[in-house]
Symmetry: C2
Subunit: 216 residues, 2 copies
DNA sequence: CCTACCGATCGGTAGG
DNA sequence: CCTACCGATCGGTAGG
């Protein structure tokens, strides 16, 4: 059965969005031209504008689509954790593994998310950052559960910063990990988990810093 | 005593380079216009071009200047380590502290280095990445020394990736740490060191992965 | 002849 | 679905 016109349209459009993500990730949003994108897609510029409204629409679609999948991934892993009654450490390890896997699959989209979110307008940026915050909170909640010795003030001060250190490792991964290198993301995910879970029990802040943050 | 004309020139020029770093870090190199830079400096565009040859010169100066200070910083800390006969763990902790301190002082420059190095020409990029590699190797050397149990193949496989995880945490720090927040980089540097040094002893890769990387 | 600097505009190219 | 264009703005420089 032949595909309908709208199915053909959706396929061609998706190719364009994938190509745009690749170029945005490589050159950055402002340095990517729509002519260059048309050329990379093997189509004319007017035809490109048959599939997309404007350059900005590509940016919102790539960033919002990716961060929405990350929010869904957090929920998926939480469901698995409930089913299997995972300890917080195992839950966090699974979050790390699944996120590194997703980042590898959506390498370009993730590059655009970390690099070009600043070019979103205020409303779109707020929506994307809101979803990022949901993801961060899921990780932070898991980290707090893994540190049963923390007082509420310790958790309030340290959970988010430690989460961001973890995201620093994961987000930075794909800036240096070569896809054709001997070590892939599949080998690195457990290393990230081992390093973070191994270091987590020993992290603490001086009591006066905790107190200052609590009253700030 | 009045400053000489060339001293006035150097001061005004430095102000321009600092402002360019701030705008590049905020908006990215391609999205920053020379008209906007001139306006931010409170001077006309022709006067801006009296101080700098072109836009690209600003990018090379900011990135190369910053990474050169990082290379010097590595040597400084190595000298301190030799003087005080620091253990590798203490040496690494000091590297982390001093680097986080330098990143905080040169926040804009570091943002430009991590974000806009791709807009350098081939020769300039090679020079900057070469200096980055020097810095990475100093950290990696320290990490290997801190893991006395490693065989040469373990060190060859794990040292660079672990170094990059550490740089991921440090480089990502200033994307989320608010300068006016209750927690500053001064409090976060020991947290980064505790987390990394606490997790380092427990990190390992399966023997077959080490073997595959050794023969790759 | 040098420096410091302005108002105006250059050749090209961006998104659309 | 292409050629031919636009309003604007880019990086960089002219004359005075």
């Amino acid at each position: 059965m032949a595909r309908s016109r709208s199915a053909e349209f959706a396929i061609q459009r998706d190719t364009i969005v994938r190509t745009a993500a690749r170029l945005f990730a490589r050159d950055g949003y402002p340095a990517t031209s729509m002519s260059g994108l048309a050329e990379a897609c093997g189509i004319s510029k007017p035809l490109l504008y048959h599939y997309v409204n404007d350059k900005y629409q590509l940016l919102t679609e790539i960033t919002d689509g990716h961060v929405s999948r990350l929010v869904a991934l957090v929920d998926e892993v939480a469901a698995d954790a409930a089913t299997h009654r995972w300890a917080p450490q195992q839950h966090l390890r699974q979050l790390i593994t699944r996120f590194v896997e997703e980042y590898a699959l959506a390498r370009d989209d993730h590059g655009v998310l970390t690099q070009d979110v600043k070019f979103l307008g205020e409303a779109d940026r707020a929506r994307v950052l809101g979803k990022e915050r949901q993801v961060v909170e899921a990780f932070a909640h898991c980290i707090v559960a893994a540190r049963a010795d923390w007082q509420p003030a310790d958790a309030a001060t340290l959970a988010k910063p430690l989460t961001m250190l973890l995201f620093g490792m994961m987000n930075w991964l794909f800036t240096w990990l070569r896809p054709d290198g001997p070590l892939g993301h599949h080998e690195m995910a457990p290393v990230v988990a081992d390093l973070f879970l191994g270091g987590l029990p020993g992290v603490e802040l001086p009591a006066d810093v905790i107190e200052r943050c609590r009253t700030a």
